[in-house]
C-alpha cells in the first residue's frame, strides 16, 4: 500500500521535469516533420500512380499501328497548350485557359440562375404540402431527362446558341438544388418554427433568418451536385452549339484530327471540375460552420 503511494507521488514529478525544458523546440521540429510526412503521404502515392499510368500508356501506344498518341507525342504536339495556357495568336487561336474561362462564364450564369431558382422553388415546395404533392412527381420525371435532350428545344426557343447553352446548364443543375433544398426545409426542426412563430417573423424574415441557415447543409449538397452536373453538361452542349469554349475546342480538335489536343483538354476539364467541386464544398463548409445541431 505504502509502496504504491510512493510510486504514485514520485513518477509524475519526474515526468514534469523531463518535459518542461525541451518542450518548445521539440514540438516545432515534430511539426515540420509532420507537415513533411503529411505532404509526402498525399502527394507521393498519386505521383507514383500517374507515372505508372504514363509508362503503361507510353508502352501500349508506341507500337506502329497504335490508334492513340502516346504521352511523348502529346507533349511534343500539344506541349504549348500545357505550358502556355494564356497565348492569343489571333483568329480564335487562343490558349486553353481562355477557352475554359469562356465555358466557366456560361456555367457561372447558368448555375447562378439554377441556384437562385432552385433555392426559391425548393423552399416553396418544402414549405407547402400541396406544392410538394403537385410538383414533386413532375420534378422527379424531368430531372432524369439528359441535359442534351433539352438542347434542340432550347435552340428552337431561343434561336441562338449562347442562351441555349446557358439554359441547358440551368435545367441540368436546377433539379438537385430544388430537391435538396426541399428536403432541408422539410427537416427544419419544429422548435425553430415555433420560435419564429412566437417572434412573429414574417415569411421573408423566416426565409433568411431561419430557413436558409437551417437548411444550408442540404442546400450546399444540392449546389455541389449541381455544379458537377453543370460542368458535365457544358462540355457536351458546347460541342453542339460551337463558339468559344473548352467543349467546342474538343470537337474542333476531333474534326482536324488533333488527338493530342483532346487529351490535354480532357485533363483541363477534369482539373477544373475538381476545383469547382472543392470551391462549392469549401464555401458550404465555411457558411454552415455553425449549423451542426445542438
Amino acid at each position: 500500500m505504502s509502496a504504491e503511494a510512493q510510486f504514485e507521488t514520485v513518477v509524475p514529478a519526474k515526468k514534469a521535469k523531463v518535459f518542461a525544458f525541451p518542450a518548445q523546440p521539440a514540438s516545432r521540429r515534430i511539426d515540420m516533420k509532420k507537415v513533411a510526412t503529411g505532404v509526402a503521404r498525399s502527394i507521393v502515392p498519386p505521383l507514383i500512380v500517374i507515372l505508372l499510368i504514363l509508362l503503361i500508356w507510353q508502352i501500349a501506344c508506341s507500337t506502329p499501328g497504335a490508334s492513340l498518341p502516346p504521352p511523348s507525342v502529346v507533349w511534343e504536339q500539344a506541349g504549348e497548350l500545357i505550358w502556355n495556357p494564356f497565348f492569343d495568336y489571333g483568329n480564335g487561336d487562343i490558349g486553353l485557359a481562355w477557352r475554359v474561362f469562356a465555358s466557366l462564364q456560361r456555367v457561372a450564369v447558368g448555375f447562378g440562375l439554377a441556384a437562385l431558382v432552385g433555392v426559391a422553388v425548393g423552399a416553396f415546395i418544402g414549405q407547402s404540402v400541396w406544392a410538394m404533392r403537385g410538383l414533386d412527381p413532375i420534378f422527379q420525371i424531368l430531372r432524369t431527362v439528359p441535359p442534351l435532350a433539352w438542347l434542340p428545344l432550347s435552340l428552337a426557343a431561343f434561336r441562338d446558341s449562347h442562351p441555349s447553352a446557358i439554359f441547358v446548364i440551368f435545367i441540368t443543375a436546377v433539379w438537385p438544388v430544388i430537391i435538396n433544398t426541399a428536403v432541408g426545409v422539410r427537416n427544419i426542426p419544429n422548435d425553430y418554427r415555433n420560435v419564429a412563430a412566437i417572434l412573429r417573423l414574417n415569411p421573408i424574415e423566416f426565409f433568411f433568418k431561419v430557413m436558409v441557415p437551417a437548411a444550408a447543409p442540404y442546400i450546399f449538397t444540392g449546389l455541389r451536385i449541381g455544379i458537377g452536373l453543370s460542368w458535365l453538361a457544358i462540355v457536351a452542349a458546347e460541342m453542339l452549339t460551337g463558339g468559344v469554349g473548352i467543349g467546342f475546342f474538343i470537337w474542333d480538335a476531333w474534326n482536324s484530327s488533333r488527338l493530342p489536343d483532346i487529351i490535354v483538354a480532357l485533363v483541363y476539364i477534369g482539373v477544373i471540375g475538381f476545383m469547382l467541386d472543392r470551391l462549392v464544398a469549401g464555401f458550404g463548409a465555411f457558411i454552415t460552420r455553425g449549423t451542426a445541431a445542438n
Binding site: 415555433n194 420560435v195 412563430a197 441557415p213
Partner: protein, 264 residues
C-alpha cells in the same frame, strides 16, 4: 389583478385519419398578474398541449383564452415560451440568439445602443453575459436553458410559459436553474406558467399547482395553493411542514387517486 389570464371552458381535440381524439376537456383557470403556476400531471395528460394553447401555437377547439383584455389567437412575443430543449438557433451566438428576439420585438422602439443594453441586461440576469459570443454547441445544457430563459425574458412578455424547462437537465443543474428562476421572479414579479413532472419543483416554485387528471379528455383535477412565503430557500423548506404537506397532497393526487395505469 385577478383574472389576468383567463382560460374559459377550453376543449381541445385532434383529428387524425378521421379519428377524433379528445385531449383536453372543459379546462377553466384564472391566473393573477405576478402569479407562478405549475401544471403537473402524468405524461400524456395534455399539459404540454395546454401550454401550446396558451402560447397560441395550437388553436383551441372550443372555449377561449384571454390575456389582459385580448383573446389569444396565434403565437406572439407577449406570451414567450421557454422550450424543453432550449430551441436556440445553433448558427447564432448566444448574443445573436437573444438579439433575434430583441431586434424583432423592440426594433422600432429602442435605439441600437438601448437594444444592446437590454440584451446584455437579460443575459446578465441569467448569468450568461460571459458567454455572449459562444455558440449553443459550445455551452452546457444548463447554460443553453439559461439563454433560452434570457431570450424569452428579453421579449418582455406579459406571461412567461415554461414547457418542462429543466426536464432534460441533471438534478444539480436543475436546482441551480430553479433558484435562478426564483431570483428572476423576485426581481421582475412576472407571471409564469410552468409545465413540470417534478413534484418538488412544483411546490418549490409555484403559488398554485394545477393537477391534471389522466387523458384522454384530461381535466383539471385539483388546484392546490402553496401558502409559503417568498423568498423561498430550498434548504429551509426541506423540513418545513407546509412544504411537506403540499408535497404530500400532490403525491397523493398523482399516485393514489390518478395513478398512471400504463406506467404500472
Amino acid at each position: 389583478m385577478a383574472g389576468y389570464l383567463k382560460i374559459e371552458h377550453v376543449d381541445k381535440s385532434f383529428e387524425r385519419n378521421g379519428v377524433t381524439s379528445e385531449v383536453l376537456k372543459d379546462i377553466s383557470l384564472e391566473i393573477s398578474e405576478g402569479e407562478v403556476i405549475s401544471i403537473i400531471g402524468h405524461s400524456g395528460c395534455g399539459k404540454s398541449t395546454l401550454l401550446n394553447l396558451i402560447a397560441g401555437l395550437t388553436e383551441v377547439s372550443s372555449g377561449a383564452i384571454v390575456l389582459g383584455s385580448e383573446v389569444v389567437s396565434g403565437p406572439g412575443p407577449e406570451r414567450a415560451v421557454v422550450f424543453q430543449n432550449h430551441s436556440l438557433l445553433p448558427w447564432l451566438t448566444v448574443y445573436e440568439n437573444v438579439n433575434l428576439a430583441v431586434a424583432k420585438v423592440f426594433g422600432g422602439k429602442k435605439s441600437k445602443a438601448e437594444r444592446h443594453e437590454w440584451i446584455m441586461h437579460n443575459l446578465d440576469l441569467v448569468q450568461m453575459g460571459h458567454a455572449r459570443d459562444k455558440r449553443p454547441a459550445e455551452i452546457s445544457g444548463g447554460m443553453k436553458q439559461r439563454v433560452g430563459i434570457a431570450r424569452a425574458l428579453a421579449m418582455e412578455p406579459k406571461i412567461l410559459l415554461l414547457d418542462e424547462p429543466f426536464g432534460a437537465l441533471d438534478a444539480l443543474t436543475r436546482a441551480h436553474l430553479q433558484d435562478a428562476v426564483m431570483e428572476i421572479h423576485e426581481r421582475l414579479h412576472n407571471t409564469m406558467i410552468m409545465i413540470t413532472h417534478d413534484v418538488d419543483e412544483a411546490v418549490l416554485l409555484s403559488d398554485r399547482i394545477v393537477m391534471m387528471t389522466n387523458g384522454p379528455a384530461a381535466r383539471i383535477g385539483e388546484v392546490l395553493a402553496v401558502p409559503l412565503g417568498r423568498p423561498r430557500r430550498r434548504l429551509e423548506l426541506a423540513g418545513d411542514r407546509t412544504y411537506l404537506k403540499c408535497r404530500e397532497a400532490v403525491l397523493k393526487f398523482l399516485y393514489e387517486r390518478h395513478r398512471f395505469v400504463e406506467a404500472a
